[in-house]
């Protein structure tokens, strides 16, 4: 180490101290030091996908002396091409919040006592050992693929217990059911290249300018290059996205169902639907007496008949969108000379008719033939970095097994048991509890039928993000027989009720693999050490499994009597990876990934070997090996020009069709009103969501100065006319109250977003004002995903 470097460390320490003091004093400057040397020279740069949303940007992480010191957009990444958003640029700072959890903590009364990892792991294992069937595991789309795969194997292949579900249930479950019901297989057929090629971009209840900013820029930056793109915003409030759009279609909640049907109605009436496409590639479908994802076949005439009532005027009644705008949309879809991409995320997914609206939007694209060409695509986005990779592909859901399999299918169970090398019959055929049910059972006393009594949460914050928190989370309080285990990086609303807190490693403090919204699998290596004695979530799972093995749980052994998470090094020698000291003696991620890879062929979601991902900035599945030994990714599925699984001589082939005839399903669903609509007592519609600066529950981003400074706390957006009536000014404290609970927060009029009369908006990132005390837990009948976007509330000024 040179003197200069030593000086620099001293300088940095001083700077850190100074900045801490500055923060206390309320000064806003960052006080970055300026040094008289080439500061960049000793920084090592490595690739990693960003920790936040489902876009899956790659960042370059600058590491010096064991610390992350800088972030740059990765210019070799196809997703973001060197650009990031304000969260991504500051993602390195999430590791260094001063209140990182660094030691296992066990609750004793109202206090916590630090305990050793040995004690902690033993405590978890004992709870599970006592009643394995009353244990549930709650994870998320922020689990890395190996973490999720380990949890999945531990539960379903080890304990024979299917009570494992992710927060993604709250996030994109309806997108999954929409893809399954339409194409017979999950995840978008297109990719982000559609954004480079579309002439029209329709955003259905979507605000990508704030939620998927890099993708939004990918579209609007085309305008700087002279491209003409029509942007259409179908939304319940004005957002930053609206500012860039030629058309803003302001709809009432659930208006989207009517709008999609209105487009279909006009395509049929004007005879502008794509007859050839429909005849060759589509069937028509509707729900019968027992609703399910397969439905019943209906004839084209029957479909046409059901669509008859969705005239533009009727759609205007249901949605509030002027009939002319419906005609404008239908005219666009009726044209063959423009390419149309639809984007959606939570607006269509957090919806009590979420499966229906997902199916209807796919249906409009299929009916009009706007499918299967670059730029012609119905594309759902995800909110979490590995909602696709870990939840949808690894299948960490109560009913699923890896690779698109389900527990209810005997053949699928058998395959999983074989890949896992566990005895036949190990996997329970009965689906476990989905998220809302799981938490309901956990919060219900055993005496009243609550049959989950130990719940382990990893990489998510249900104490803030579940709907109707008083019922589904806060009710855990004062129930000593219920035991909540939380693996976390910072104190959260969830750790507040935890009985055992396990400090976890975060992002580049561990190896990982994510899968983004466009089927892209992305790998990174550990770059820095976690603070204190924080450890990888994956290690925690494996250590508990091994402790259970020691306690004599037979499920922790495979067919050969070996530990189910046995890992060997390159020479074939077993490595005791359950001991932290040896966890990084071997790449556990690689071992788990290679095991998982076997599962991916059934649904043609083939993954390449681990090493391929080390080289690339992610690859989109199916990744198929070529004759020359190289691995080729697939940008567009089901089309002959790109998808290797489409048979020769076919242009488009839906090879996982639910009707086994290579056709996709165009569904009919009726418009229906939201589960809760404003009435006299609760006259406002509350909608919730995110803001650009904060990601989900804010656990990470609220500890990042530049982000927190821009968006320090939650607020309620009120329409100026409503505010006038209620006597509310910007900055006034306001009570927002539903039948389930109420919170107080400042009003912001003409602020970040602008709701129409009768609508209020509250972001959910702020743990000090939990809007989910107010939201509704009504959910979609198929996906079980709750509707956070439509709760009836009343609004009252408290103080000026």
């Amino acid at each position: 180490m040179s003197t200069a470097t030593t000086d620099r460390r001293t300088f940095l320490k001083t700077a850190a101290l100074a900045s801490a003091t500055a923060a206390i004093a309320g000064e806003r400057a960052f006080g970055l030091p300026v040094l008289n040397n080439d500061a960049a020279s000793s920084v090592q740069w490595h690739k990693a996908p960003c920790r936040f949303c489902g876009t899956g940007c790659h960042v370059q992480v600058g590491v010096e002396d064991g610390k992350v010191v800088a972030i740059a957009g990765d210019q070799r990444a196809d997703v973001n091409k060197g650009l990031l958003c304000v969260k991504g640029y500051h993602v390195g700072m999430i590791l260094y919040g001063q209140d990182r959890l660094t030691t296992p903590l066990l609750r004793q009364g109202n206090e916590y006592v630090p305990i050793s990892w040995e004690q902690a792991i033993d405590t978890v294992a004992q709870r599970i050992m006592n009643a394995p069937e009353r244990f549930a595991f709650y994870g998320s789309g922020q689990w890395t693929i190996p973490e999720g795969f380990a949890a999945q194997k531990f539960m379903k292949g080890g304990l024979g217990n299917n009570h494992i579900d992710p927060n993604a249930r709250l996030c994109m479950a309806s997108a999954v059911t929409g893809f399954l019901a339409t194409y017979g297989v999950d995840e978008p057929a297109g990719c982000y290249a559609d954004l480079d090629n579309c002439d029209v971009l329709i955003m259905w209840g979507n605000n990508p300018a704030e939620m998927h900013p890099v993708l939004f820029s990918r579209v609007i930056d085309r305008r700087s290059r002279g491209d003409e793109i029509t942007l259409i915003d179908i939304s319940t409030r004005r957002t930053r996205t609206t500012e860039h759009c030629q058309h803003y279609l302001e709809m009432k909640g659930h208006g989207d169902l009517a709008i999609a049907n209105g487009i279909a109605h006009l395509l049929l009436k004007n005879d502008t639907y794509d007859k050839q496409f429909v005849e060759q590639y589509c069937n028509f479908r509707a729900q019968g007496d027992t609703p399910n994802l397969f439905g019943e076949a209906i004839s084209f005439d029957e479909y046409r008949k059901r669509m008859e009532k969705y005239t533009p005027e009727y759609v205007e009644d249901c949605s509030g969108v002027p009939a002319d705008k419906i005609r404008m949309l239908a005219d666009l879809f009726g044209r063959r000379d423009v390419r149309i991409t639809s984007l959606w995320c939570m607006g269509m997914n957090q919806h009590t008719a979420g499966t229906a609206i997902n199916c209807l939007v796919h249906g409009v694209h299929l009916l009009s033939g706007h499918f299967g060409k670059p730029g012609d695509a119905p594309t759902s986005l995800t909110g979490q970095p590995s909602a696709c990779g870990t939840v949808r592909e690894v299948g960490t859901l109560a009913h699923a097994l890896p690779g698109g399999r389900v527990v209810a299918n005997a053949e699928h169970r058998k395959q999983a048991e074989q890949y896992w090398n566990v005895p036949e019959g190990r996997i329970n055929p009965q689906p476990g509890y989905h998220t809302v049910k799981m938490w309901e059972q956990f919060c219900t006393p055993a005496s009243a039928g609550g049959d989950i009594d130990t719940l382990w949460v990893q990489v998510t914050n249900p104490g803030q993000t579940l709907p109707n928190l008083n019922k589904l989370f806060n009710a855990k309080k004062n129930q000593p027989e219920k035991f909540l285990i939380v693996s976390e990086v910072y104190p959260t609303a969830t750790t507040q009720l935890a009985d055992l807190i396990l400090p976890a490693a975060l992002w580049v403090e561990k190896n990982g693999i994510f899968g983004n919204s466009e089927r892209r699998t992305q790998q990174w290596f550990k770059m820095v050490d976690p603070p204190g004695s924080a450890r990888d979530d994956c290690w925690q799972t494996i250590a508990v499994a091994h402790r259970l093995l020691e306690l004599g749980h037979s499920g922790m052994r495979d067919r050969d009597g070996k530990f189910i998470f046995n890992v060997a090094d390159d020479n074939g020698n077993d490595v005791p990876a359950w001991e932290w000291e040896h966890y990084y003696d071997v790449n556990v991620d690689k071992a788990l990934f290679e095991e998982y890879r076997q599962f991916t062929r059934l649904k043609h979601k083939d993954l390449a070997p681990y090493e391929e991902y080390v080289r690339e900035r992610g690859l989109r599945w199916p990744v198929v090996q070529q004759d020359d030994g190289t691995w080729r990714e697939t940008k567009f599925r089901f089309v002959s020009f790109d998808d290797p699984y489409v048979e020769d001589g076919r242009d488009i082939q839906f090879y996982h069709s639910t009707t086994n005839d290579d056709r996709a399903q165009i569904w009919f669903y009726d418009w229906q009103p939201p589960a809760e609509v404003p009435d006299e007592s609760f006259p406002f519609m509350l909608t919730t969501g995110r803001v650009l600066e904060h990601w989900h529950s804010g656990t990470m981003t609220r500890r990042v100065g530049p982000l927190s400074r821009a968006m320090p706390r939650a607020y309620v957006e009120v329409n100026p006319d409503d505010a006038m009536t209620l006597g509310i000014k910007t900055g006034d404290m306001v009570l927002v109250e539903s039948r389930r609970g109420g919170i107080e927060l400042p009003a912001w009029i003409n602020g970040r977003g602008r709701p129409p009369r009768g609508t209020v908006f509250v972001p959910f990132f702020d743990e000090t004002v939990l809007i989910n005390d107010v939201t509704l837990d009504a959910h979609d009948p198929f996906s079980k995903q709750p509707d956070y976007k439509k709760s009836a509330v009343r609004v009252r000024k408290i103080s000026g």
Partner: protein, 269 residues
């Protein structure tokens, strides 16, 4: 023609009446406007003080003003910059010096620069209040390095990117009360004082990535901070003499070997 005069007088009275109505409507509209949307507290104070009046913290109720007072009263976003719009010098009036800046001046400029970044390479934060919804309005100043009072708006170095607030976070969004930033131990990559030179007098190498810095003169031209300005703005081809860093520009992979093998030398070790 004379008989038209009374009509003209009539028209003048009508115009006066109309003006009164319009002025009244404008005033009423103005007060309604400031009631909804004006931040309660002056969040920019202290961050970039340009020496104009600040709004009273307790100014939730705005006192009645007349039009003369309006000219000198701070209202709305960017209110601190409103007073001198009529006397704006253009950026071209700014000058560069032919001799390098004193190191103290450069240090001061770098200090200003560093105040707005979490680490070297981070997108600078926006040191003033902005309209939350309107990103286009950024270009009205930053598209042409507009000079207002003694402040020059930084010139946009990447004009093709137009979603400004995707990367640049504003100061505290009104209407929120004071808050304390969470403690964070992140120690950001410092800014280099200068690019390395092969020898005294050699052109310095570029010590930062050139990605999204298409226009060098945005920072190093006449509109840049004094200590960062080039001594030779008339020369347009910067990269002719100043070498960028392939590593910082992410141009090469680490596995690329730049050399052919050494020849085998007999008797060599």
């Amino acid at each position: 023609m004379t008989h038209q005069l009374p009509h003209a007088g009539h028209a003048t009275r009508f115009v006066h009446l109309l003006l009164v109505v319009v002025l009244a409507a404008a005033l009423i509209g103005f007060f309604i406007g400031i009631d909804y949307g004006v931040p309660k507290t002056d969040e920019t104070a202290g961050f970039l003080n340009v020496g104009t009046q600040s709004v009273d913290d307790a100014a939730a109720v705005v006192p009645t003003l007349n039009y003369i007072e309006l000219q000198t009263t701070d209202i709305g976003p960017n209110r601190n910059w409103k007073s001198s719009l009529s006397t704006l010098p253009s950026a071209t009036e700014l000058s560069t010096s032919t001799s390098p800046p004193l190191s103290t001046i450069k240090q001061a400029s770098l200090h200003i620069r560093s105040q707005r970044r979490a680490f070297n390479g981070a997108p600078p934060v926006i040191p003033h209040v902005v309209e939350q919804m309107s990103t286009d309005s950024c270009l009205s100043c930053h598209g042409k390095a507009l000079r207002i009072a003694n402040q020059t708006a930084n010139l946009l170095p990447h004009p093709e990117l137009t979603n400004c607030m995707q990367c640049h976070a504003p100061v505290e969004a009104s209407p929120f009360e004071e808050f304390v930033l969470a403690h964070n131990d992140f120690a950001g990559l410092p800014a280099p004082f200068e690019g390395q030179r092969a020898w005294d007098g050699a052109p310095p190498m570029i010590p930062h990535s050139t990605h999204m810095r298409d226009n060098c003169l945005a920072c190093h031209g006449p509109a840049g901070l004094v200590g960062l300005r080039t001594t030779h703005p008339e020369r347009q081809s910067c990269l002719q003499c100043h070498a960028p860093s392939a590593e910082l520009d992410q141009n090469i992979t680490a596995s690329t070997s730049p050399f052919l093998q050494m020849p085998d030398i007999r008797g060599g070790s």
